[in-house]
């Protein structure tokens, strides 16, 4: 029975569109995290001077520290963005596809 449903789903253009849309979104966010993190890592290797610059003339806090904390915070925010979009956009489409196929 479920194979029958799976077959129906495979032929549903909504499904193909969902997969494409969701995969693009997931890989895009993954790429952002990687670029951000490996950018930070490569700056440590190549341009340490930039990272050690203080954030203000009278401050001891280096720019790199803010960037490191920034990577952590942005990672948390991006997970939130994904969960929000999945709940709001993707889940209803998935439910619709399964419902149509189960008819």
């Amino acid at each position: 029975m479920s194979e029958l449903i799976a077959g129906k789903i495979l032929n549903n253009p909504k499904y193909l569109q969902l997969v494409k849309q969701r995969d693009t979104f997931a890989w895009l966010l993954s790429a952002i995290v990687c670029v951000m993190y490996f950018g930070f890592t490569l700056m440590i290797a190549f341009t340490p001077d930039v990272l050690t610059q203080p954030i203000a003339a009278d401050s001891v806090i280096p720019l790199g520290m803010l960037m490191g904390v920034g990577v952590i915070l942005v990672s948390c925010v991006l997970t939130g963005v994904y969960v929000y979009r999945a709940n709001q956009t993707f889940d209803p489409i998935v439910n619709e596809i399964v419902r149509e196929a189960s008819k």
Binding site: F38, A45, F46, D91, V94
Partner: protein
């Protein structure tokens, strides 16, 4: 059932007896502490799996920290009650491995944080910051960025496709036998080495915190407790131990950070300038990033980054947590909660590290020999956070933080043991040996025996490795997870072309490549074996092994023209429908 009650209470009583016995014996025993291996704890990054060995600097006579002992006992009592409760509700295999799939997103998020935040990441990162400043942040960042990747690419698909282990997912459309053997081998290597790291860390930590308790006894207590939790309470008990521990750890770290900030008038500027003024390296603690920048090259940085990030996404005990939730939506939510808890925690450890520079360094009460160095602490390299708790809240808070560190070890070790046992019972016994014909009862029984076996193995290895330099353990476990579990899992889910041959050859390339290059690399070849300059000059082999795994898996798959390979490719559509929609996924408990 009657027999079960008797056995459970026997263990409960003996565990409590062991602990109280310790406390009462403590008064009598005030002998000098045997020196632990003196390894510079800050040169190697304090890893998630290892607490850097303590440096011998034991005072001749140490009073018993009764606050710590009492809080240990309360924690042990509470967790044993929970284990009892969980045991009465653990009847099926799904209960045992996956807590009946009734864990909510928030609960699982806490448990994920409890499973992942080890004593080493608490004490170790704080110690790293205390000694080197800014440098410690680089590891926190690396250990966090794996989580978004888990969410975007793995969590939901894993929940939709799997049952109890990640090998369920990889073998979904591939051949059961060879895939599960490969996956179980890599899981067990990761789990056993991670366990050794945790056991050694536990022994050293407890022995340092409560010196009357010997290293060996500390490990035996940890071993007995986790065997009790996991064999009786399965995933339910493990999950709740992890949730409670996460709450304690986050609460303790938050209080500590608030204490630091209150001392610094809630000004980060003041905190950092005070730290710069006190630390002997002064402004260099804000530039310590330059040290590694100059020392290491881009390849080393990238390889370390890949290992920390993708290794996190391939740890078997972490992946297993996604089978405990009700559905893929809860799996997704749990990563969001988990990531926020872990990120928050890493930022706290950073404040704690700098706070320790201000409040602990240069304080004769904590420093071993103040005329020699104002940084080197009594009891070793992992102590900054512990002494900071004393500086902020006296013996009571120190006792609390010590008990939290103990709880932390128990939670992480429980998760690991269960993951290892499930690889043995679900993948090897039920799927390979019995070819799926084992009854649920038999499978759970084998699983419980595996837990006992792994627990005893951890005790023996933990004691055997006491004086060993275990700094390579993180590199080993994270490399295998990053080079084997992660790529094979991703390929099986996202690439139609993957065949059994590709997955198996790729998987073994990852396992053997990681181990081989680590052995001839600087950490093992030079530092552990003392064989001179390393043949392979990098600490983390991921940048070589990961591409090799992908290439081998690709070539072995595309050249596979067998009938079974065709079927495996054809089965991808059905797998994808289930992965993307959750149709046919294991049903969660409804409340």
């Amino acid at each position: 059932m009657k027999k079960f009650h008797t056995v459970f209470f026997a263990i409960l009583v003996s565990a409590l007896f062991l602990a109280t016995d310790l406390a009462s014996a403590a008064d009598a025993v005030t002998t000098a502490v045997a020196p632990a291996a003196a390894v510079a704890p800050t040169v190697t990054p304090a890893p998630a799996a290892v607490v850097a060995p303590a440096v011998a600097a034991a005072p001749a006579e140490v009073p018993v920290n009764w606050h710590a002992v009492v809080m240990f006992l309360i924690f042990v009592a509470v967790t044993l009650v929970i284990t009892y409760w969980a045991a009465t509700r653990t009847k099926t295999a799904t209960d045992f491995y996956a807590a009946g799939r009734g864990i909510t997103g928030l609960q699982n998020g806490m448990a994920i944080a409890g499973d992942y935040m080890s004593a080493a990441s608490f004490l170790g990162i704080a110690a790293l910051v205390y000694m080197n400043g800014f440098y410690g942040l680089i590891f926190s960042v690396g250990w966090l960025v794996g989580w978004p990747i888990i969410l975007f690419l793995i969590a939901e698909r894993l929940r939709n496709l799997g049952k109890y282990t990640y090998a369920d997912v990889v073998s979904f459309r591939l051949k059961q036998g060879p895939i599960r053997i490969m996956a179980a081998i890599s899981s067990l290597i990761v789990v056993i080495w991670y366990l050794i790291g945790q056991a050694v860390g536990a022994g050293q930590l407890l022995h340092t915190l409560v010196p009357q308790m010997s290293y060996q006894l500390s490990i035996v207590i940890v071993g007995v407790l986790i065997i009790t939790y996991v064999t009786f309470g399965g995933m339910k008990a493990t999950t709740w131990v992890q949730i409670i521990k996460a709450g304690l750890l986050l609460g303790g770290a938050t209080l500590m950070a608030i204490g630091v900030m209150a001392h610094e008038n809630f000004s980060f500027a003041k905190l950092f300038s005070d730290a710069v003024a006190i630390h002997p390296s002064h402004m260099d603690i804000m530039k310590s990033v330059v040290k590694i920048g100059a020392k290491s090259n881009p390849i080393e940085s990238i390889s370390l980054g890949l290992t920390l990030m993708l290794g996190t996404a391939g740890l078997p005990h972490i992946l297993m947590r996604f089978f405990t939730v009700t559905d893929s939506k809860a799996a997704r939510k749990s990563v969001l909660y988990g990531t926020c808890f872990i990120g928050f925690f890493y930022i706290l450890t950073f404040i704690i590290g700098f706070g320790a520079i201000v409040l602990v360094a240069n304080n004769p009460e904590y420093v071993a020999n103040i005329s020699k160095s104002i940084l080197d602490l009594k009891g070793g390299g992992n102590m900054p956070a512990v002494y900071l708790s004393h500086a902020i809240g006296g013996d009571l808070f120190l006792g609390f933080i010590a008990a939290v560190a103990f709880a932390t070890i128990l939670a992480v070790v429980s998760g690991l043991t269960l993951a290892g046992a499930s690889a043995l019972s679900h993948d090897i016994y039920a799927s390979v040996i019995m070819k799926g014909k084992a009854s649920e009862k038999q499978e759970v029984w084998v699983s419980k025996m595996s837990v006992i076996g792994l627990g005893i193995l951890a005790i023996i290895l933990g004691i055997a490795f006491e004086k060993q330099n275990v700094a390579y353990i993180v590199a080993l476990t994270f490399s295998i997870a990053a080079c084997t579990n992660f790529p094979i899992l991703i390929l099986s889910v996202f690439w139609r072309g993957l065949t059994t041959r590709g997955a198996v050859l790729g998987g073994y390339t990852g396992i053997l490549g990681s181990i081989g290059l680590l052995i001839i690399g600087p950490t093992v070849w030079t530092k552990v074996l003392s064989m001179g300059p390393a043949i392979f000059p990098y600490d983390f082999p991921t940048f070589v092994v990961l591409p090799a795994v992908l290439v081998v898996a690709y070539i072995a798959s595309v050249t596979d023209s067998s009938e079974s390979a065709k079927k495996e490719r054809a089965a991808y559509d059905a797998q994808m429908v289930r992965a993307e929609t959750g149709l046919g996924a294991e049903v969660g408990a409804t409340h």
